[in-house]
């Protein structure tokens, strides 16, 4: 609170609904609902968290508490379940609620934090932290920071600096750690410092087949393509088959599949067409475009399908 405001200016009541609307939180949550398919438990948790923060903000305005709540979070889930996307929305949300000053997201992995030789790690980690100040620092696959098999690993140094900043500069920075659920669990067990400094654990479930199909649909919409009837059915079949294969990465696998389908569609048009090509043909993904994937050919074989 500014020094100029005297105590008589403190309001006695706050309209939470009005706060909810004017702060722009409603907008972010609606956007989240509209643009992200599925993820029901995640959305629920974010809704709860933003309610908590709104109430906390109101309490602070009324002078009931003055501590900044711990906002560091942990996002756990399989690859391609939307952790980075949600983190970006979270940064926006925290910005609108006034818990971070700038609201940008800095996304890093082990390589950005840990150095190659003695004395390299601290400046590197600090550099990243400085860039993230006023926003959200998103550490993807955070468990790689800690390598229990090598006690001289420089990751430990990065962890110590991170913990220190997470504790002392809670007003300046929010840290989100992300990764697979089981490995994050082991990471927290070996680094209890992190566990105690993280208030919000959010688990990202895998998408269902229907949700993945809806995601595929919206990705195509964005790029100005669409499925024809058979293409859609084949895509559904693809999702089922792809899930059973190794290295399945939810929405990311779907995006790759679509990119490859577009490639095949372009190839097909280029080789098959003799006359002019219409809008219809240029924007339709058909069954053979998807059917040509190795997912259909080699069921049960290992490796990333092409």
């Amino acid at each position: 609170m500014l020094q100029g405001e005297d105590s008589s200016a403190v309001p006695v009541a706050i309209d939470l609904q009005a706060e909810y609307r004017t702060s722009g939180v409603a907008e972010v949550l609606a956007e989240l609902d509209r643009e992200l398919v599925g993820l029901r438990p995640v959305k629920q948790r974010i809704r709860e968290t933003s309610a908590l923060l709104l109430v906390d903000r109101a309490r602070r305005q009324l002078g009931l508490s003055s501590r900044t709540p711990t906002l560091h979070m942990s996002f756990t889930g399989n690859p391609g379940t939307g952790k980075t996307t949600v983190a970006r929305r979270m940064a926006d949300l925290l910005f609108r609620l006034g818990y971070v000053r700038k609201g940008h997201l800095v996304s890093v992995t082990r390589d950005d934090l840990v150095g190659q030789y003695i004395g390299h790690t601290a400046p590197k980690t600090k550099e990243v932290l400085k860039k993230a100040m006023g926003g959200v620092l998103f550490i993807d696959e955070a468990y790689y920071l800690y390598r229990p098999d090598n006690e001289r690993d420089y990751g430990q140094e990065a962890i110590e600096i991170l913990l220190q900043v997470m504790e002392n500069q809670r007003d300046d920075l929010v840290v989100i750690l992300a990764g697979y659920a089981d490995r994050m669990e082991r990471f927290y067990q070996s680094n209890p410092g992190f566990r105690s400094r993280i208030a919000h654990h959010i688990d990202f479930p895998d998408y269902t087949d229907d949700e993945l199909l809806a995601i595929a649909q919206s990705m195509l919409d964005e790029q100005g393509y669409r499925f024809d009837e058979a293409g859609r059915a084949t895509m559904r079949e693809y999702v089922e088959k792809r899930r059973a294969q190794p290295h399945f990465a939810n929405a990311r696998s779907i995006r790759n599949a679509i990119d490859r389908a577009r490639l095949r569609q372009a190839n097909r048009l280029f080789e098959a067409s003799s006359g002019p090509v219409g809008v219809e043909a240029l924007s339709t993904i058909t069954a053979p475009d998807i059917r040509a994937s190795r997912v259909f050919a080699a069921v049960g074989t290992a490796g990333e399908p092409s």
Partner: protein
Amino acid sequence: MRITQGAFSFLPDLSDDQIAAQVEYCLRNDWAIGIEHTSDPHPRNVLWDMWGNPMFDLRDAAGVMMELKDCRKAFPDHYVRLNAFDSTRGFETVRLSFIVNRPQIEPTFRLTRTEVRGRTVSVTMTTEY
């Protein structure tokens, strides 16, 4: 003797909040911030020691304040200044420079006049601690 170099040096020392506000202004203008320190504030001593690299791509003053704190801790008895670099002309131009830390007891300058050829007098200024 109070050294007056750079901006704001005729004003009372800036508080940390005021420094942070100046840094915010620089960052809003997309200027990079460098921290420099020296024990010798002689006007001819233009190049001070750098405290790390200039900080590019910052979004918030907190990062600069963190480094400034470290620099003050390491050199409590040095002069520390912040330089703001503007790159819009294709090279880094100093747009703002101001002192953010002074030693407890500031040095003075001594003038030495030496008679040289003819009636010429050469004046040398040296820092006296």
